[in-house]
């Protein structure tokens, strides 16, 4: 029921994400990447299963574990790595680094460093889509710890009341930094957050890319039909620490080893093999192709220059008449298709019905009432 093309695309993207993060981890050890650096290793089924259920025109954003979200949407691996290296050829010209990747060309609206801070932004983007009458959904990921932020509850309430086309994904890797989510959360079944706001809430095995894909297809359809926002809890696991500086001593070796037994890439490969969709030789070709892409990305990042010092004054305010940057056009010299929004249109959306308050004449007094 899954096309060979889809299965192999998923396999390739998960592997690309894994290899990208492994290399980022190594580069961190060599101090080529510094600051905070949060790896996605182990969680790949979530980002890929979600992405393959979307259209290219749908909008995506996440928190600071954000390297692979743009990667699986088609971002340039070299330019992503260059951003991690703080180089001029990075997507944000070295201004954002690991936590703040943006690739607007591919409708990836960013990595954000304040836990839960991006949750209202996604609702605002969905508001804008609905305001202009566009057929587009916005997907916003966050970690389990963000589900205890006020921003989530305030936003869910408004998104649901206004039926905004937004899909929230809680990537529940069981730990908010070093704190087991159940230690600090009165209702640790996070998808139940949706019920308070009359939103549809689902949970899924986030280590199985096909299950994530299936439920996402259904949820995207639900949201596109105008039924309002949804919350998907993807139960997943990060094989590495919270960030590169985390030795993860709050988890037992046994627990980590057991979870590694559910590696999403191994699982999908076994499925494809069992279904006799691709021979072993095809996996080897994909593995080599991914390795080549990542090696090229590392070389590109290594050889790229630092940003020019005068750039320090740019991009804090928009200067008069200043255009927006188009990174791949600037760095790779290719013409890119850029998402643009109209300045003239008709707003046809009635966010709520007209006031039910009747005119004063409707006030009637009972005969004989005081």
């Amino acid at each position: 029921m899954y096309s060979p093309d889809l299965l192999l695309t998923m396999y390739r993207k998960m592997l690309l994400a894994r290899r990208f993060e492994e290399k980022a981890g190594q580069a961190y050890g060599l101090k080529k990447i510094q600051g905070f650096c949060h790896l996605y290793i182990g969680q790949e089924a979530v980002v890929v299963g979600v992405n393959e259920a979307l259209r290219p025109t749908d909008q995506v954003m996440t928190a600071y574990r954000d390297h692979v979200h743009p990667l699986v949407r088609g971002a340039d691996a070299g330019m992503l790595m260059a951003e991690l290296y703080g180089k001029d050829t990075g997507y944000s010209k070295g201004k954002g680094g690991s936590m703040h990747l943006f690739d607007i060309e591919h409708n990836f609206y960013g990595g954000y460093g304040i836990v839960g801070g991006q949750i209202p932004l996604a609702a605002g983007m969905a508001f804008a889509s609905k305001y202009r009458g566009e057929d587009r959904v916005t997907v916003c990921s966050f970690g389990d710890a963000a589900s205890n932020q006020g921003a989530l509850h305030e936003t869910f309430n408004m998104a649901a009341k206004w039926k905004l086309p937004v899909i929230y994904i809680v990537e529940n890797n069981k730990y908010g930094m070093g704190t087991d989510v159940s230690r600090v959360t009165a209702e640790p079944e996070l998808y139940k957050r949706a019920a308070s706001y009359r939103m549809r809430g689902e949970k899924v095995d986030g280590m199985d890319v096909l299950k994530v894909y299936d439920v996402m297809k259904d949820l995207v359809d639900h949201v596109r039909k105008g039924h309002g926002p949804v919350l998907l809890e993807a139960q997943t696991y990060r094989f590495r620490g919270h960030s590169m500086s985390d030795a993860a001593t709050y988890r037992t070796k046994e627990e980590v080893e057991q979870e590694k037994g559910h590696d999403p890439i191994t699982t999908l490969r076994a499925y494809i093999t069992k279904q006799k969709i691709a021979p072993e030789a095809q996996f080897e070709l994909i593995d080599e192709d991914v390795k080549r892409e990542i090696d090229q990305a590392m070389t590109f990042a290594d050889e790229s220059p630092e940003p020019p010092l005068e750039d320090v004054w740019k991009h804090t305010w928009v200067e008069d008449g200043e255009p927006d940057e188009r990174p791949r056009q600037r760095v790779r010299g290719v013409e890119v298709t850029w998402p643009t929004f109209p300045s003239q249109f008709e707003v046809k959306w009635d966010l709520e019905p007209k006031s039910p308050v009747a005119a004063p004449a409707a006030v009637q007094q009972k005969k004989g009432a005081a």
Partner: protein, 326 residues
Amino acid sequence: MAELAYREALNHALDEEMARDPRVFLMGEEVARYDGAYKVSKGLLEKYGSARVVDAPISELGFAGIGVGAAMTGLRPVIEMMTWNFAILAMDQIVNNAAKVRHMSGGQLRCPIVFRGPGGAGGRLSSQHSQALEANYVHFPGLKVLAPGTPADAKGLLKSAIRDENPVIFIEAELLYGSKGEVPEGEHVVPIGLADVKREGSDVTIITWSRMLTSCVLPAAERLAANGISAKVLDLRSLRPFDTEAIAAAVKQTNRVVIVEEGWSWAGFGGHIADFIARECFDDLDAPVSRVHGLDVNMSYAANLERAIQPSVERVIEAVNAVLYR
């Protein structure tokens, strides 16, 4: 010229900009069916509908962030904060997202949004509802901060704020909403970053903004004139960016400066202006710069204490006399 109340001038600016540009919408508490807590948005729901004049729940952080997300993807939101005291709850969205998203994205995104509402003391509201908080916002790169003190400036600057490509903090004044003044007819736009001489004078320059202009600076200048002192009144209107040229010219002309602000002195915006004058206009000064500001205490409810805490005509006159060594 038409005589308008400050709230009417703001209403006209919103109305004109919403008519001109479908991307502009207003969101906040009580802005739609209630016509605005201070009636600034009166009649706009009827005219523009419930998607463009949106009653939000009491979730300042949430709807500030919804505004930022909408601004990132092509709309031009005006987010009304019922007062700036409540906007403290939304600081994360304003500071960490609105002010930084262009930078973090390396110039791929922009965030043309206006956060507006009343600042400063209201009148017998005690400490949580009587704060002049502009110093909080001028601190952050990426934001512009405006604080008009007259109906004409309120209208002209709000139109500029809505058309600006950056996040703008637009601080109105609760006690000014009913105040009236002449507003030019038709298209009236005041550029951001220009101060305005509200009274010419030659002995001393009084620099101020927002409500202090009419509540104590202009009345003090009038009384000083009766005593033979000619005070120039410079209304900054725009705090970030501020008009360095106008300040430097005024200091060169009068050689003496008093800065009057409603807020506290500690790390207050007046201190930043004094710093600018000390660095750039030192040779033009004949006396140290003096500051008049709200007392560095929390606002009290009692009428006499509330009066004592705020800058007054008397305190402005006293400060002017001091810099004139009288």
